[in-house]
């Protein structure tokens, strides 16, 4: 099988639908400290599929109000604005891809890993002096390029899975070997097409890149934070992947974050607890 032509991938990304307007507004609300939760709630209420999801989660046994939450407005009170934003982004992004025909891609495991990475990123963000909501979004979507590859090029992606199984290598190595490109680059192109904030585009595209040790006075950045969160999420091993493999941890990026090991473990414990609740949002 021939490697993928990058232009062919870009063309395929161009054919994917834009994100629904309500999802874009929710994403933009992360950049706005005065975002109007009521106005966003009204927009969600106009989208039948999204409101059904929001209500389903708010009425789930986890929140103990089974059957008593009838409106999106009430659901936003029960779930909190942050959780509703996560739910809307997850549902909007998943709904923007053609149905997955590939048996070599496990969508629930993908979302679970994204949630754990997002939760870790949010926990680490304050220590690194990075906006926590932006960290959560970048963590949630850092591997989105995998979904593009699995949905738009299922035959190629099956070969990636076969190569990985045969060589027990990192998924990104299998992608580069079989496809000639990797999910980080594809995710970067997709987030550009979806007009995410440039800092999120860069974090998605560069979350496997090593930091430049020679960069003078370099501060922690979002891409580095997502790298650390991605490694932590793989180490936590909550996605249910038998072949889980912790990626190489970039020493320069880790040192730059300025997080001590004891503090790292405190964050892991917090992230593990929160991820269980957040997983419910995207499984509804």
């Amino acid at each position: 099988m021939q490697p993928l032509d990058p232009e062919q991938v870009v063309a395929q990304i161009g054919k994917l639908p834009s994100l629904p307007a309500v999802v874009l507004e929710v994403l933009e609300s992360f950049e706005d400290d005065h975002a109007d939760a009521g106005a966003i709630g009204k927009k969600i209420a106009q989208d039948q599929a999204l409101s059904a999801k929001v209500l389903r989660v708010a009425n789930s046994p986890f929140y103990g109000l089974r059957g008593r939450v009838a409106t999106v407005k009430d659901a936003m009170v029960v779930l909190g604005f942050g959780n509703v934003r996560t739910l809307v982004i997850g549902a909007g992004v998943t709904g923007s891809f053609p149905a997955l025909a590939s048996d070599s891609f496990d969508l629930p495991a993908f979302w679970m890993h994204g949630i754990v990475a997002a939760t870790c990123a949010r926990c680490f963000a304050a220590d690194a002096g990075i906006d926590s909501e932006r960290a959560f979004t970048a963590g949630l979507l850092h591997d989105i390029g995998r979904v593009v590859l699995a949905t738009c090029f299922p035959g190629h992606y099956r070969r990636v899975a076969e190569y990985r199984a045969a060589h027990d290598c990192y998924p990104i190595e299998a992608e580069r070997q079989v496809l000639g490109l990797d999910h980080a680059a594809v995710g970067g192109a997709l987030t550009e097409r979806w007009r995410f904030a440039p800092v999120i585009q860069q974090a998605v595209a560069a979350h496997h890149c090593s930091a430049d040790p020679a960069a003078p006075g370099a501060k922690p950045d979002l891409a580095g934070l997502v790298h650390v969160a991605d490694v932590a999420a793989h180490a936590l091993d909550l996605a249910g992947d038998d072949n889980e493999l912790v990626p190489q941890f970039d020493a320069v990026t880790w040192t730059r974050m300025g997080i001590s090991w004891p503090r790292f473990l405190e964050h892991l414990a917090q992230a593990e607890r929160r991820a269980q609740g957040a997983a419910l949002l995207l499984s509804a």
Binding site: D168, C169, Y170, V231, H234, A235, D237, E244, L245, V246, Q248, F249, D250, A251, W254, W261, F264, L265, L268, A269
Partner: protein
């Protein structure tokens, strides 16, 4: 009258079971870090995860 005493119902930790769980956690971590090599940051992460999984 002496107050009624409540029997302590919490099961005692089973050392054999605890040792088995610890062993299983260490085996899983060894599997997760099978490509870690000798990189010092990966080794430090591995040690941190051993602490995390065995001291919880």
């Amino acid at each position: 009258m002496r107050p009624a005493t409540t029997p302590h119902l919490e099961p005692k930790p089973d050392p054999v079971m605890e040792a088995a769980q610890r062993e299983a956690a260490l085996l899983r971590l060894a599997h997760l870090f099978r490509r870690a090599g000798t990189d010092t940051t990966m080794q430090a992460l591995w040690r941190a995860m051993v602490d995390y999984r065995t001291e919880k």
